[in-house]
Amino acid sequence: MFANLPYLAVATLTVIGLSTVLLKRNLVKVTMGLNILTSAVNLLIIVLGYREGGIAPIYTLAPQTYMVLPTPQALCLTSIVIGVATTALLLSFTMVIYRKYGTVNVDEIRELRE
């Protein structure tokens, strides 16, 4: 059970993120929901690289034991940076929409439809 705890955390975060994105009506909350989803998948990537009893993957002065996989950590860093840029752009879009439309409610931002 304990070994599966990270995967349960990933599943919980995914469900929270998806429900935020689908059910909330405020554009800022939708953006944060996407951020939570990104965090969930970053956590999944890092957890998949973990090896039981492993140390950090640094060669300098390292004892002779298992290391955790470094590639997922690199993937996760790239993904975090992409997530930052994504969130920044979505929030700046939200700001401009608020300035022009006066609302951040997704039900009312419907100028383009059908």
Binding site: R25, D107, R110
Partner: protein
């Protein structure tokens, strides 16, 4: 240089088609030349003839784009009454559709 596109069960040669069309257009031109040669520009011969009634303003006879296919949209009104409201314009509905399709694909591919 092969000029014929061959699909597995047929063929299509655009250059031969163009030559055939050119021939047809030549025949059309020769027939057109048999017509009346001269006319007076600027006289009543070039104005539209609407049984002697005065011609309305240009704006009044323009058929706007929304009305051009009224018969088609009216005939398919049952279909359009369902599909057009589905395009709500709400961004969370867009995401809901993506997730629904992924769920259906999940049922089709993973479970069966």
């Amino acid at each position: 240089m092969a000029l014929t596109l061959s699909t597995g069960s047929g063929f299509w040669n655009p250059v031969v088609w163009l030559i055939a069309i050119a021939f047809v257009l030549l025949v059309v031109y020769l027939l057109w030349r048999q017509g009346e040669a001269g006319y007076n520009r600027g006289s009543a011969q070039v104005k539209p003839f609407i049984s002697g009634n005065p011609e309305p303003a240009k704006k009044a006879v323009q058929m706007p784009a929304s009305n051009l296919y009224w018969g088609f949209t009216e005939a398919l009104s049952g279909y359009y009454a369902r599909v057009i409201p589905a395009h709500t314009g709400i961004v969370t509905d867009y995401l809901l559709w993506v997730l629904w399709v992924t769920a259906v694909l999940f049922l089709l591919v993973v479970i069966t």
